[in-house]
């Protein structure tokens, strides 16, 4: 069984500090929702409210249409993976996995069967007799995951589960988590500060900052159409370049002046809302700002600039350059031979510009995803189809205990 999760006007105050403000968010049944934001943005508090470890100061939280504000954690039927894993140090892996089912009064043989199945899924079969202190970081992580999986809860909660792993293991576990979610399709709320985890794992991503929800969208949409300066700057690495600009008209069409050039706005884009006094912040992703010799024919704008820093990454190089007094970062091909203090020409496709109100920071330019509205539509359909297929798969997946066996 899957349940959706709804936050309706949820606030959480600690004293006079608001950790979460007016949160309205729906996580669809079976969806993998990633909650991302810098530390202290309220994402963990949100997760803990859903788990029942914190009570919302105002607002309603619903799991599967049921109001859970006053339901203690043990009756919420959620499972949580803690950042610290929180394994019981005095129990072996078997007992750690079995704890939740035993607490719910499951019969011995059923517990045994489920523990073995779960251990099999996670490759813990040989470690059942070990204590947590005798496990590696990755193995502990897996036990923590197994403790959540074994219960087949309505909702999975994960609080930065990968942040204590080394880089290689993190990539591996990221893929494994995605695989597990594809297989079991349990509604998941995943908290992270790592935008790579967010982009790669989330069906949708909710970006939070200073206790407020900034934007909720599919990863590609979030990347292509950030709702405001914060989201634009937070998602994407290297960070999006921000330079001041001015809305003008050129040949009767809307255009924007920045870095000494004037760019007409693409026909497929449209201005939403009006910029205060025409003052805007222009956002340019580093990959849209290319080295002239490497740029395609769409990049009609040319910016002359002086190279400040060259950071070779192997498969590409980040070049920080100064252009009309502004520092911008661009992505160069790996062996461009460009050196510091050299003058280079940067090329830019005006259709790839992002415009934000200079004062409010809100996006004022609606751009089509991946160049066309059709792409957006089909991406959405593909996502819905994927969820449906996932649900189908769950009911037939072999070796997966069905909810009917649940106590």
């Amino acid at each position: 069984m899957q349940s959706d999760v709804q936050f309706e006007g949820v606030h959480k105050l600690f004293g006079t500090e608001a950790a979460v403000e007016d949160l309205n968010l729906t996580v669809d049944a079976g969806e993998f929702m990633v909650l991302v934001g810098p530390s202290g943005c309220g994402k963990t508090t949100t997760l803990r409210m859903l788990a029942g470890l914190e009570r919302p100061s105002y607002g309603r939280i619903l799991i599967g249409e049921k109001l859970v504000n006053n339901v203690p954690p043990r009756f919420r039927d959620v499972a949580m993976v803690f950042q610290s894993y929180a394994l019981y140090p005095h129990m072996n892996v078997y007992d750690n996995l079995a704890f939740g089912m035993r607490a719910r009064g499951a019969a011995g043989p059923l517990v045994d069967q489920r523990v073995k199945e779960t251990a099999e899924v996670l490759g813990l079969g040989q470690l059942l007799k070990r204590r947590p202190s005798e496990l590696s970081g990755g193995q502990r992580q897996r036990v923590a995951l197994g403790r959540a999986l074994i219960r087949q809860p309505q909702v999975f909660l994960m609080d930065e589960p990968l942040s204590n792993l080394d880089a290689g293991l993190r990539v591996q576990m990221r893929a494994e988590l995605s695989r597990l979610h594809d297989r079991f399709r349990v509604t998941t709320m995943y908290v992270t500060h790592d935008q790579v985890e967010a982009m790669t794992m989330g069906d949708r991503i909710a970006v939070m900052n200073s206790g407020r929800l900034q934007q909720v969208d599919m990863p590609e949409t979030l990347y292509d159409n950030p709702a405001n300066l914060f989201v634009a700057g937070f998602i994407g690495s290297p960070r999006m370049n921000f330079v001041p600009g001015q809305i003008t008209t050129e040949n009767g069409k809307a255009a924007v002046r920045f870095l000494g050039v004037t760019a007409p706005l693409a026909a497929s884009s449209q201005l939403i809302g009006d910029a205060s006094g025409g003052e805007v912040t222009v956002g340019i992703r580093p990959e849209d700002l290319m080295w002239r010799p490497a740029a395609g024919p769409d990049s009609t704008l040319t910016l002359s600039s002086e190279v400040d820093v060259v950071e070779p990454m192997g498969h590409e190089a980040y070049v920080t350059a100064v252009c009309a007094g502004q520092t911008v970062t661009s992505r160069f091909p790996p062996r461009s031979g460009v050196r510091t203090h050299e003058r280079v020409e940067l090329a830019l496709n005006p259709a790839r510009l992002h415009l934000f109100d200079a004062r409010s920071g809100e996006s004022i330019l609606q751009r089509p995803v991946a160049g066309s509205a059709e792409a957006l539509k089909s991406a959405k359909e593909a996502w819905i189809g994927r969820s449906a297929a996932g649900r189908d798969r769950q009911s037939r997946a072999p070796g997966v205990p069905s909810k009917a066996e649940e106590i």
Binding site: F99, A103, E134
Partner: protein
């Protein structure tokens, strides 16, 4: 006080210089410590020698070996009674103190309680009060309640006087158990009682043991409280029995006194050794949180 804080290792990240020269400060410190140590070691030395001596007196001298003193003491009923009384007194005190300290320390460690800091400081202050200060009013209270001359009621006052420190000790031990383990258990579906029984208690067991042993040792050696509150000659605990050896038997039986003292301190020494092991290495939450 907490044994749980991980102290930084002294030699980590330090350049270790071979230690050769004896500094003046180190010399003085060591001489003073050796002198002070002598004050403690010499009486014990006397105890050991005198217990084995056929003609013991005040002096510390090499004994002319005999086990007659041991036979003498173990053969008398009084010694066994004193041991039994001490066991009842210290055992009752320990059980009462340990149970109450856990029950008091858990909410103090975990819950948000108004004026908690003030309360903890009050407890700390109480643990420093000399018991002798309270003994007269407590005696009057016991007279009023008709509680005099019983080991069990005496144990209650001993427990009351050892509780403040026991609560402090216990709170530190519970503080060291990561609260996330309890939260994980709660989300796993465990009731409060199950969380206490299966998660908190097993992890605080070393702490409970240390608190209990500490209380037991104190109660085992308690003199003034049982001396005042329990004048029943049938069940005098060990320390008072030792006092009796010295006074009321008229003639000093040095050998018997030494043997009894020696036997009486054995449980304490064993428990101390046991406790020091707990203090040094039993707290191991590794694998619970982080790596």
């Amino acid at each position: 006080m907490s044994a749980v804080e991980t102290r930084p290792r002294a030699n980590e990240n330090l350049i270790v210089v071979p230690y050769r020269r004896v500094s003046m400060a180190a010399l003085i410190t060591n001489v003073v410590l050796i002198l002070l140590g002598g004050f403690f070691v010499l009486p014990m030395l006397w105890m050991v020698f005198a217990s084995l001596d056929s003609s013991p007196d005040w002096a510390i001298k090499l004994p002319s070996l005999t086990f007659a003193n041991f036979a003498d003491v173990i053969g008398t009923a009084g010694a066994l009674t004193a041991f039994r009384s001490s066991l009842i007194l210290a055992g009752t005190t320990t059980v009462i103190t340990a149970v109450l300290a856990v029950l008091a320390a858990y909410p103090l460690s975990r819950m948000h309680i108004p004026f908690k800091r003030t309360f903890m400081l009050a407890i700390l202050f109480a643990s420093g009060l000399p018991v002798a200060m309270l003994i007269v009013p407590v005696y009057q209270l016991y007279v009023y309640l008709g509680w005099l001359d019983s080991l069990y009621t005496t144990a209650m006052f001993l427990a009351a006087s050892s509780l403040p420190f026991a609560i402090w000790l216990m709170k530190n031990f519970i503080d060291a158990v990561p609260v996330e383990l309890e939260q994980a258990a709660a989300i796993d579906g465990a009731s409060t009682f199950r969380i206490l029984r299966q998660v908190v208690l097993p992890l605080t067991l070393p702490g409970i043991a240390v608190t209990a042993i500490y209380t037991f040792i104190n109660a085992w050696g308690a003199f003034i409280i049982p001396f005042v509150l329990n004048s029943n000659p049938e069940d005098q605990p060990g320390p008072i029995e030792i006092y009796n050896f010295m006074g009321s038997h008229g003639l000093f039986k040095f050998g018997d006194l030494a043997v009894f003292s020696l036997l009486f301190s054995l449980p304490v020494i064993v428990l101390y050794l046991f406790m020091s092991r707990y203090f040094s290495g039993a707290f191991n939450f590794s694998g619970a949180v982080r790596g």
